[in-house]
Amino acid sequence: MQVPLSWYLIVAAALFCIGLYGALSRRNAIGVLMGVELMLNSVNINLLAFWRHIEVATASTPAALSGQVFAIIVITVAAAEAAVGLALIIAVYRNRRTVAIEDVDMMKL
């Protein structure tokens, strides 16, 4: 017997909520980014769990692989966003000498 679908969804929801707590409560900008990455991972688990458990018609319909393709694109976008986000954090650190996000609250120095 398979692992039922609801188990995967519960674990993904738990990961999402832990990532949400991390994104809302960390002072360090990199900590916030790590929370965001956790949330993106949980979304991916959801996508693949639904892809696996929902019956699709045949292999030739475009929707047959949409779960996997969607997950690949989410991973791609997460990589791009992590790169740009970390570049921003490094640039802010060079200018303001701080990475605590509550200190970066004015547009001008």
Partner: protein, 170 residues
Amino acid sequence: MSIPQVTVSHVVFVILSAIALIGALGVVTTRNLFRAALFLVLSFIGVAGFYILLEAEFLAMVQILVYVGAIAILIIFAIMLSQRLMAPGYKASNEQWLWALVAAVALFAALAFILLNVGWPTAEASVPQGTVAELGKALVDPDQYLLVFEVASVLLLAALVGAVVIARER
């Protein structure tokens, strides 16, 4: 309701979810940022295990290659380059951590309630269509996902150029 038979996949699922959730909890609670990055790597590996259990092994390898091999290293480098000002006496959580905790727990309760009470279409999962060859063909087929593929590559190029320009030393 009959007690479901416990198979190896159930045991493996429990172990993997323990790994992923312990990693995630470690990320958001530990004060040392480098250890938080290592817990994040643990969580990523747990999630890759989930993908293998869901019979999407190409995704699992891509997850390890991209997340563990690239994003985690990026995060660790960023931590090393900006570490000096986070002294040990610094608090890791800001002053609204309690409200964030309440929000996260409330959201989890709501989601769990919904997820357990919806009758999911319990299709006995068919053999998943898609070997890696099918996936490759789907990504470059004009009738399927070619546009998505091209847009994603342009996005990656823009992110690459942008990251290099933003983080450049003047």
